[in-house]
Amino acid sequence: MDFLGEGLRRAVALLLSGDVEVYGIALLTLKIGLIATVFACGLGIPVGFVLATRPFWGRRAALTVVNTALAFPTVVVGLLLYGLLSRRGPLGGVEWLYTWQAIVVGDVVLAFPIAAALAAAAVQGVDPRIRRTAETLGAGRWRTAWTVAREARFALAAVITTAFGHVVAEIGSAMTVGGNIRGQTRTLTTAVALYTSQGDFGLALALGLILLLLALLVNVALQALQGRGHA
């Protein structure tokens, strides 16, 4: 217990002292998390809408693929991406391997199916009469989608929160394509893994606490946004 208590005391001290390394890692994680979430949700939510509302050939198969991709191991995504971005790979020319951009790409690949599958479920959960009402009153495709989205706003906010949570919490892909380089690609999860293996439990715990705090802040922010709306 002393061991845990000591670790916690060290963590609080590091957070209160404004440790440059700790906050640098946190800021990089936040940057990567936000960018990846924007891309994953920006692509995934519209795809979810289409999967939920538009009948097309292969729709069922597409839903199965998206749902299967939810359980894609993060380290396997990292491995595939490593193959693509390495010098000998087809995308080696962009020289993104061991950069924060590579981590973003990996996170987008991982969070996209989450956004698509959960958005499809959220839209399917909206009373079908809402869509029919918007359409019969003359709304076009975009206005109808917006009307349905307004009804599903709580579920769609949960999609964004889940995607962000997944992105900041994943380690497999970030470690493989980012390389855990100090000051460049070291994120909260890769740093926690590193410092724990090095026996620096206090630092690892401090970073873990920040990770929890980030997830909490995003949730609170989204709930505050939802709270502004009325029925």
Partner: protein, 331 residues
């Protein structure tokens, strides 16, 4: 003219609608009557271009149509309508805003239609603050606000009380008097259907019936009755007694289940007793028989299979139909 042509519509491989041709002419009032599950709502959704028929097409002015542009000329009010997120006013504005109308025109139309439907006091309320009947009136107002060429109504008075239903029908009549508006109404109640009785069609198991609903007669009601509201009205070669304070042109309806069937006239309080011959016995649903008889006019009654057997009813055999004057419904 809005038409369904050669439509066979399926859900999971099962044919739910099979209609060679169904038309709603410009400015017409068409009513579709049929029991729940007969396909009325599906038919209206196809007409509203909210679903594409599995086979066949929807035509507007003779041209096959689909999509948002054509949909703007047709508006459907569903049986249990929902309001969109926001206030009643925002709901009324929705269809006008998507048409890009100017703010002053939007306000004018919203206030006008709200006054006609008696929902002005509700304009600032949200959907969870309204009763089912109020939601239905708002939904009709929302549909009328966009001034469609064709208004489709699915059981429009199902959630409304009598007074609210009167307001709703009065507003629809005013709208039709004001401009050429075709109304197609689906209902399981004949009373609803005959308010718009330019043309009444029966729908059963997805097919439009070639016959009109049973025991309906267009009559001219006399100004005075023989006693109180009891009036005797000539229908073909017989006289039907009905209790009503109405006068002039009307529709008489005798519900088949309200007709008492016997082999010989019985002493009873029924003011209508007609002797005739059975023309047809039809097994309608398990356990029931539809008895069609010529008693001067053709009347249809429904009895149980057991009663038909006990009475020994056979085509061509004698039969007596009796019903009370109060059983006759007048529209």
């Amino acid at each position: 003219m809005l038409e369904l042509v050669g439509v066979r519509h399926r859900y999971d491989g099962r044919v739910v609608l099979d209609i060679e041709r169904f038309a709603v002419p410009p400015g017409a009032g068409v009513a579709i009557v049929g029991p729940n599950g007969s396909g009325k709502s599906t038919l209206l959704r196809l007409l509203a271009l909210l679903e594409r028929p599995t086979e066949g097409e929807v035509r507007l002015e003779g041209v096959a149509v689909a999509g948002a542009a054509a949909r703007r000329r047709i508006t459907l009010v569903e049986q249990r309508p929902v309001l969109l997120r926001g206030t009643v006013r925002e709901n009324l504005e929705f269809g006008l805003q998507v048409r890009g109308l100017r703010r002053t025109e939007v306000n004018r139309r919203v206030e006008n239609v709200a006054a006609r439907l008696g929902i002005t006091p509700l304009l600032r309320r949200r959907r969870h603050e309204l009763s089912d009947g109020e939601v239905q009136r708002v939904a009709v107002a929302r549909a009328l606000a966009v001034e469609p060429d064709v208004l489709l109504l699915d059981e429009p008075a199902s959630s409304a009380d009598r007074a609210a239903a009167q307001t709703l029908y009065r507003a629809l009549a005013e709208e039709r008097a004001r401009r050429p508006l075709a109304v197609c109404l689906a209902s399981h109640q004949l009373e609803d259907a005959y308010r718009w009785a330019d043309d009444v069609r029966a729908l059963a198991e997805g097919r439009l019936s070639p016959v009109t609903p049973e025991n309906l007669f267009r009559v001219e009601l006399p100004a005075t009755g023989s006693g109180g509201d009891l009036k005797h009205v000539c229908v073909g070669t017989i006289e039907i007694a009905a209790t009503t304070d109405k006068t002039g042109p009307a529709i008489l309806a005798v519900p088949p289940t309200d007709i008492f069937v016997s082999r010989e006239p019985l002493a009873s309080s029924a003011r209508n007793v007609f002797t005739g011959r059975v023309t047809r016995l039809t097994h309608q649903r398990p356990g029931t028989v539809q008895v069609t008889a010529d008693v001067g006019v053709e009347l249809v009654a429904v009895v149980t299979e057991e009663a038909a057997r006990d009475l020994g009813l056979t085509p061509g055999g004698p039969v007596v139909f009796s019903f009370k004057a109060s059983a006759v419904r007048v529209f």
